[in-house]
Amino acid sequence: MSAESINRSRAVDWSLRVYLVLAYLFIFAPIAASFVFSFNSDRFPSIPLGQFSLEWYKAVATDPLVWEGMGNTLVIGLVVGCVSTLLGFGAAYTDYRYNFFGKQIYMALALLPPTIPVIIMGLAMLAFLSRVNLSGQALSVVIAHVVICAPFAMAIIRLRLSQMDPALEPAAWNLGASEWATMRHVIVPFTKPAIFGALFITMAVSFDEFAIAWFVSGLNETLPVKVLGFLQGQVSPRINAIGTFVFVISMTLVILAQILLSGRVTPVTDDKE
């Protein structure tokens, strides 16, 4: 619609835009503040600000526990990303390709976990995993995170598959490619951007998850669990420093995913009819 349209009111348009800016201010205020205070010398943040200081970053950087948490987070994130993407890919392909009795239940299992409140998930996971001697390890966090991350991977990859011309797979068979060859030469190349997208998004989700990880991580705490610890145990701007640091990493992953998901979009088929 053109700006000169006669059916719009400038006043309304501008007030809506102002409101929009206010909403973004609300949403970004805590993020920005955490960024600012991570460079503030005062231990108990308040205004006016103290001096600029890298003290909290130094504190974080010299804390071996933070590094260890960081290492755990990275390793767990990487494994969770890979496993979730693999499982999610399988489920997305299953949904795309097959129709079978009980498929709705299958799909419910594939999509429901993220809607269960994390505190309940954490409780149930800990209670269960400790019964089967799987709690308190990095593996426990991986298990729990895959449960909630696989649905994200599944959704992203399924979306990509639904953009695929349904004739593409049978066309490949018809040209002499077996099912496995078709998977390798057609399905995977086609969904590749979504696969990487899913990988990064699930890594980012795992990277930021603290509630379930707090329950099941035991000694192998991830960074977000450390943050929870800092918040519960000793208020310190280190929270801001870590938060800012994690934010930068997560955003890098998200932007990478974004580029992969939208960058190389090729029209799938020419428009029909």
Partner: protein, 285 residues
């Protein structure tokens, strides 16, 4: 060809199924079993005793917390929906395509910053000597007690849910057929009236689903009520942690958790029914 599932098919279908049955269904089922266990002297014993259900459901505190949590989550859903609507409306209808893409991108960022860090940040804003009061003080107002009030909890809930609610609303608003809006204008329906007569009814499914997600998120959240609400009033999530503090009463915590899941499923069912009510299946076109 649609054959029966083959080895090839199972290779892709089974892993997720196995994983979710082992690590998602089993824990939830175990939670049900756990709620019938008993606790003596800090240790749990497998049992089949409804005592935990009887005790928890017999406590006024439990029902009170339940009522409060439900009311808080419901108000958060209404509030978030109301606050989000002008935003999603503006993004959908008042921005250029480019600006809209940016708006969506910016809205996604909060999902990747730690919720904990954001809540901690709000403490700095809301405390008696915090940023807001200092700013208000400079224009001669306040200080107001904001932290450790239900209002602060609500701020936390908005922090948690507003971006998601805006995105979900936006998703249904951008798919509204613009012709419907023009058609309404063309039939003497003014600007504001069109919002109520056309835009909201058209986007109803999305609006309800967005509110539902807000409800789900806030109903189970414990970070905001504790770190912004000062743990007062007691919500179900706080009650869960309190319960585990009274000598390893995990079975009772399980009762609370299961009650929460039941409530969420019921609310989701009602909301989805309402969201899709009156929409005949298999619309043509």
């Amino acid at each position: 060809m649609r054959r029966a599932i083959s080895i090839y098919g199972l290779t892709f279908s089974l892993p997720l199924l196995v994983w979710q049955v082992l690590f998602f269904v089993a824990p939830l089922v175990f939670l049900v079993a756990l709620s019938f266990w008993t606790v003596k002297n800090f240790t749990m014993r497998p049992d089949f005793d409804p005592v935990n259900w009887v005790t928890m459901y017999g406590k006024p505190v439990f029902w009170q917390a339940y009522g409060i949590t439900f009311a808080l989550a419901a108000s958060a859903s209404v509030l978030a929906s109301l606050l989000a609507f002008p935003c999603s409306y503006a993004i959908a209808f008042k921005l250029s395509d480019r600006a809209r893409r940016w708006a969506v991108f910016l809205m996604v960022i909060p999902f990747f910053t730690s919720y904990l860090v954001r809540v901690y940040s709000w403490q700095i804003f809301l405390s008696d000597a915090g940023i807001v009061n200092v700013l208000l003080g400079q224009i001669g107002l306040g200080p107001y007690a904001m932290l450790n009030t239900p209002g602060a909890t609500m701020v936390g809930y908005m922090t948690l849910s507003l971006p998601l609610v805006i995105l979900l609303q936006l998703f249904s608003l951008v798919f509204i057929d613009r012709n419907l809006i023009e058609a309404a204008h063309n039939m003497r329906c003014g600007r504001l009236r069109t919002v109520f007569e056309v835009v909201i009814p058209s986007a109803r499914t999305g609006l309800v689903i967005a509110a539902l997600f807000c409800f789900i998120l806030t109903f189970g959240d414990f970070v905001s009520p504790v770190y912004l609400g000062g743990g007062d009033p007691t919500t179900l999530s706080i009650l869960i942690t309190d319960t585990t503090k009274s000598g390893q009463q995990w079975p009772r915590a399980a009762v609370i958790a299961l009650t929460m899941i039941g409530t969420l499923l019921a609310v989701a069912f009602v909301a989805v029914r309402f969201a899709y009510a009156g929409q005949a299946k298999g619309a043509r076109k």
